[in-house]
Symmetry: C2
Subunit: 135 residues, 2 copies
């Protein structure tokens, strides 16, 4: 598949919509069912400090556990580089997480990530998601 400029602008808009859902719905409202619109059914996550996890149901368990345990408030994602490839897209991005663990002050964490995106049911979703911290 050749991706034209017009295609790419449309894809980037859909990607931004998915990334925004992760912040507003998953982190902001703890609506973990929104992850159905963010990850493909057979997605893979590779979180730092934990084993890799595959499949959307297991991924929902991961985020639900992590967000509640550190009392996460927001995850603002920013695309740094978007590389269309075949039917997918490889994205390099950065994120700013805000957390407020019980008994601790609110703090922010700089994260960088790579996501391999695929289209599923008319939405652009995360098929492979790996991240780490800058410090």
């Amino acid at each position: 598949m050749d991706t034209t400029n017009a295609d790419l602008i449309a894809i980037k808009q859909k990607m931004a919509k998915t990334n925004d859902l992760f912040n507003t719905e998953v982190f902001g409202k703890r609506n973990f069912d929104a992850l159905d619109q963010i990850y493909t059914t057979d997605a893979h996550i590779l979180p730092p400090g934990a084993p890799p996890t595959s499949g959307r149901q297991a991924i929902k368990g991961f985020w639900s556990g992590l967000i509640q345990s550190v009392n996460a408030k927001s995850a603002v994602l920013e695309s740094v580089k978007v590389m269309p490839t075949g039917d997918g897209v490889v994205e390099i991005g950065k994120a700013l997480l805000t957390i407020e663990p019980p008994g601790q002050a609110q703090s922010q964490i700089d994260v960088k990530y790579v996501v391999f995106w695929r289209e599923e049911d008319g939405r652009w979703k995360w098929h492979v998601d790996i991240w780490n911290m800058n410090a």
Copy 2:
């Protein structure tokens, strides 16, 4: 581009060759010029605990510094999932690093990674490389 099974087998063999060079030449012999055959010219790495770095020259500086500072001995890479996409490949893998920092016993570190591969000058190389630790 549609990747046939025969193509994919050939690509996987070339990928294994690149991954092996990283272990034997870069880690084993500290031949950092071998990184020319491993990373694309404008590659990106996203190392844990450090800012992202772009461009092969800067990447050579990163690996040269890290390998010497922790006295790294080997990095055995294993492909876990290989996903052809357009002209590239997205690989999920795991690595076992062996290090022996000055004054410390030899130890091993479990790493997982995602690499976005592209072909350059007839070789399959790492264009985007991100990793983190399981523990």
